[in-house]
Subunit: 122 residues, 2 copies
DNA sequence: GTTGTATTTCCATACGTCTAGAATAATGGA
DNA sequence: TCCATTATTCTAGACGTATGGAAATACAAC
């Protein structure tokens, strides 16, 4: 992931309404939620929420699709995984975090090593 | 990690000068770098960089200590690990990312599973 | 004390973001 | 067609952020 893309995603997630909306979509899973349900659950006016959902969409961390009158938003898990990979590779010490690809399982395996082991469990 | 703290860190990292400064500090390791070296390497005026370093400090992702006339900033790796943990737990699907604590090694082990395996290697 | 170096604080300006009322667009049902 | 529903776009105001020149602070060396 490019640093510019990481900045755009950090910016998208650095606002409470947007981060809460995104976590709601994460909890909702791949099926996603209609815009109205999100604004209702977060007690935010429709137009304000629309502004924030558009922000998340432009950042690439949610997708949207029209179903009848509704617009269904869903979290983009691939992009989120890439962001986590960026943070581990570029924003964490190699002594304290490593990431490797496991070709067999198709997984990225990250190990976060505590320098002060008792703080790791927080 | 609380959602409020995550927002503060995302905000701190959502600005190019700050993200570059932070990555410089990550590369520098626990020893850190003096403020002047950071502003020089990023070709940013001292006062502007001081503003951004203070922002990173307030967010808790860098530490600072005075040594003679210099102020040495260093990345706070513990806080960064916590943020990665927050993202995996709260911002990623359980189907696609799991985190578990390994008591023996004191490591947090994260597995990022690709839903579309060929995208995982990007 | 004076000078030079390292960094922060003060300040004004320019620019960007958040909010929500009102209007608009798109769709489905009676 | 007419109405209700769902969501977005338009707009203006309030507020927050980034920038860098100038001044102030802190420290070390002479």
């Amino acid at each position: 992931m490019e640093i510019q893309q990481a900045i755009i995603i950090f910016d998208a997630l650095s606002q409470e309404t947007r981060l809460r909306a995104f976590r709601l979509l994460v909890a909702a899973g791949p099926e996603g939620l209609p815009a109205g349900a999100i604004s209702e659950q977060l007690s935010t006016p429709h137009n304000t929420m629309s502004f924030h959902l558009n922000h998340l969409f432009n950042a690439g961390i949610v997708t949207s699709r029209k179903v009848g009158r509704s617009v269904i938003y869903a979290a983009n898990f691939d992009e989120m995984r890439e962001l986590i990979g960026f943070m581990v590779k570029d924003c964490c010490s190699q002594d304290m975090a490593t990431i490797r690809e496991d070709a067999v399982s198709g997984c990225s395996i990250i190990e976060l090593t505590g320098c002060c082991s008792d703080k790791t469990q927080k």
